[in-house]
Structures are given as C-alpha cells and as structure tokens.
C-alpha cells in the first residue's frame, strides 16, 4: 500500500527571520543573516572564520517549567517551531495524543551548550560533589534525540519517534522518514523537522578542515557564496524548521490547508570516504529520488541545492544536477542567506522552497556574482524571479557520505 503524503503546516526559525512573513520578505530583499562570530570562553578566539548565520532576535517562549527543565537551547528552537506547526495544522488535541501522530525530529548532537557545561564540571571536579551534580536533566538536554522527545512530552504525542542524527542530512531525513512512515501506512501524520543551536565547536571542526569561509570576515553578508568564483567555504548557522506531514485523504477529509505534497524521497551513501563529496554517489541519489517520485527529471522546475560554497562540493553538485536534471530547472543555494544550519538545513530549505512555491517566486542565490566556470552546466538564479514552481527538489549531503533528495509538488 502506498499512500499520498501532504504538508499542511510549516514554520521556521532562521537567521533571516521567524515564520513565513519575515523569511519571505528577507528572501525577496536578498537579506543575509550572516553576522560576526560571537566571542565565547572556549574556542572562538582561535577560529579563523569570523562569521556565523545567527538567529539575532528575541523569541518569546511560553513554555512552563515542567517542559523547560529538560530543554537545552536546541530543544527550545525545536519545540517553538513544532508548536507553531501544530497550531497552524489545526489538528485536534485528541488526534495529537491518539498515537496516530508521530515525531521525526533531530539535531546533529543534542545540545553542545549543555555538553560543554558537563565537560566543565568534569574537568574542574575537585571532589565527588562535582560528579554528583551531573543528573538526568543534563542528559535529557544534551542527548541526540532531545528535540524529538521534548516535543512528544510538550504536546503529549504518543506515536512513533524517529530521530535521525546524520549531521547535515538530519532534517531532510526527518522529513523523508516521516514521509515513508505515512506512505506505508505506519502513521496518519508525522511532525517532522530538525534544529541546531549556536555552537562554535562546529565552526572549529570545519575551520580545521579548511572548509570554512575566512575571506569575508569583515563583510559577513558577502559570504557564503555558492557557485561563485570567489567562494571560499561554508558559514555555520543555527535555526529550526518544523513541518506537519499528513496522509492525503485524512488531510482532505478534515479540510486541512494543503501547502505542498511530498512526492518522493531518496537516501543513499557514497560507500567510502566520509568527508569528500562524491559525484557518483550524489548523482545516484538524484536519480533514485526521481525514480521514487515516479516523475521524469524534466518535471522538476526548481532545485534547492545543498550548495555549501565549498570549493569542491559545489562543482560536484552542479555536475550531478546537470547530469540528472539537465539545464531545465532553476538552481538556487539558500545557504547564501542563512549559512549552513547543520541538522536544520534540510527542514529550513524545504520550508523556504514551499514559501516560494506558495507565493510564485524564486529567490536568487545571493553573493553569486561571477559563476565559477566549473559550475555553469546548470541554470543559476541571480535575481528574484516571478516564476511559478510546480515541482521542486531539495538536496542535502552530509559528513559520513550520506546523501538525500526530497521532491515536493505544489497542490493543484
């Protein structure tokens, strides 16, 4: 049995705004969410890359203590986005708690802020009182599935829990696995998404791999620069995205506002190197996605590329897009606005794509001033286009050689 799966709600917290109105306005204005890296008492002073995709505005949280006590910053983001998606969906409390709704939500490694606090206690421990101060709460805040289970607790969700933790494909897998759970009849609905909080240790990892942008430290808004000749690496970011996926007939029957349909998902692995992008692996992912969606590649109007703005990654992705989709679809790199929001990128970029589909425009890849001649085989977007989009692909690739593609379609 294969059932249709639709999206009935979406909300995101991003470096360019919170919710559809702010995010859409920023996309149309070409606004960057990249600002100088915040100083911390750990590694920031050693990092060469001085930029970060930052959620630089207050968020009004209204969580009671019973919920707050097990939440680190990443869970705050996740629960807020989830709350907004749940409210927007209009699903009843009875349904939410019925077991027919599951959660598919992740982050790259729980809360690094809380983990840092735990390490501080260990390294500064003088006697066993330090050891005793590590309690269940710290684990619940920092564990890898902290976003998913804080959501289940806050809203009383009793269906299945999936918590992908595959770095930069966490969010796209969360949506993909939620889609599969509904498609194959395991759940009627899945609340899907991902989040990541501000974390300089993540920047340090990429910085040490020479993968971070450093040439625009004094002009943060000019980086990252996907597919641009002057691109010099990724910019780490933070944020969250949450989407409500439902079985089509169920959503239709209850009169839900269907904002998009998930028509396909594929995920594979390069089967080798855990860091370097792999043309064969990525090309195969895109082919599998099109096959899964039962469409022809020519039906895809828009590709939201992973496009981190690393030297090799963008070239290989452009080659893969060219090989599978040809020159037909418009190609954009949304990380040019928000940086690489790590686990959240798949969810946030899917939501941004839906917003563009809904409003009939395509946001350009900002900072794409001179296209790298090795990336010219696809149709880049360098200015806002008033352009209806029927079918879009969202691509994400992760450390560990994991590749994903989601295919979504605008409802008739």
């Amino acid at each position: 049995m294969e059932r249709r799966v639709v999206i009935t709600a979406a909300s995101a917290i991003t470096p360019i705004g919170h919710g559809k109105k702010q995010i859409t306005e920023s996309l149309l204005a070409g606004k960057s969410g990249i600002i100088p890296l915040r100083e911390d008492a750990l590694v920031s002073r050693f990092i060469h890359s001085r930029v970060y995709g930052t959620v630089n505005y207050p968020i009004e949280y209204d969580f009671k203590r019973a919920h707050r006590k097990t939440m680190g910053p990443v869970a705050y983001y996740a629960c807020q986005a989830a709350k907004e998606a749940l409210e927007q969906s209009g699903l009843t409390h009875d349904f939410i708690t019925s077991g027919k709704l599951g959660v598919s939500f992740g982050s790259i490694h729980g809360s690094p802020t809380v983990q840092r606090d735990i390490y501080n206690i260990f390294f500064e421990a003088k006697d066993k009182t330090a050891y005793q101060s590590i309690g269940a709460v710290e684990y619940l805040k920092s564990m890898v599935h902290t976003t998913a289970v804080n959501i289940t607790k806050m809203f009383g969700i009793t269906g299945r829990v999936v918590s992908s933790g595959t770095a930069c494909t966490t969010g796209s897998q969360a949506i993909g696995f939620g889609y599969e759970a509904i498609k194959y009849g395991l759940q009627e609905a899945m609340l899907c998404g991902a989040a990541d909080e501000y974390d300089t240790t993540t920047v340090a990892v990429f910085d040490n791999l020479l993968a971070c942008s450093t040439a625009f430290n004094n002009e943060p808004h000019r980086t990252p620069r996907p597919f641009d000749k002057l691109r010099d690496g990724l910019v780490v970011g933070e944020g969250a995205g949450a989407l409500m996926l439902e079985e089509y007939e169920f959503a239709k029957k209850r009169g839900a506002n269907i904002i998009a349909e998930v028509i396909g998902f594929a995920c594979n692995n390069n089967g080798g190197d855990l860091i370097l992008p792999n043309l064969a692996g990525i090309t195969q992912t895109l082919r599998l996605g099109v096959e899964n969606a039962k469409i022809s590649p020519q039906e895809v109007d828009l590709v939201s590329a992973h496009a981190t703005a690393t030297k090799m990654g963008d070239i290989i992705e452009a080659q893969a897009i060219g090989a599978v989709f040809g020159e037909h679809p418009f190609v954009i790199g949304l990380k040019s606005y928000i940086g690489h929001t790590m686990a959240a990128c798949g969810a946030i970029e899917t939501i941004m794509t839906i917003y563009m589909m809904e409003d009939g425009f395509i946001a350009p890849t900002i900072n794409l001033e001179e296209i790298d001649e090795r990336c010219t085989m696809v149709k880049h977007v360098q200015k806002v286009l008033a352009q209806p989009v029927k079918t879009a692909a969202i691509q994400n690739f992760a450390f560990g050689g994991v590749n994903t593609i989601l295919l979504i379609r605008k409802p008739d």
Binding site: R65, A66, G135, V137
Partner: protein
Amino acid sequence: MTRQEIEQEIKEIFRREFEIENPGLDDDLREKYEFDSIDAIELLLEIERMLGSELTQEEKKQAMDIRTINQICDYIERIIQARKTAA
C-alpha cells in the same frame, strides 16, 4: 529543626526550584504539579544541602514513593532522627 521550619524550608525550595507556589500539604505533587522523578532527584540534592549531610543510596530510594509535602516533611524528620540516633 522543628516541623514548621522544615515545612517552610521545603515550600521555599518548591517556590525557588520548581516554580510551585504554596502547595497544599496533602496535594498529590505528581497529579497537581507534574512533579516527576527528575524533580525528585533535584529535591534530594536540596534536602542534602538543607541537612548539611549526604543521603545514603538506601535513604534516596525510600524517597521515591513520596507524593505530598507532608510526606516530604515526615521523610526529613525520620532522616534527622536517624542521624541523631547514629550520633
């Protein structure tokens, strides 16, 4: 410590640490205030600070069935008495 002092101290801990204002002495803390096992462990740490001595593993396990403020006060009185007897 008198029973009244213990009660006052516990209510202050509940206000400060658990954002629970003036709970009834026989209110079921779990039912009424969502006071769960995580809170119970935090409360035991507060009780250790209050008494100025560590609770044994056995004493901590005995606290896991406690449901009300009155039961918490009973528990603390028993611990104080046990410490006096041991001394």
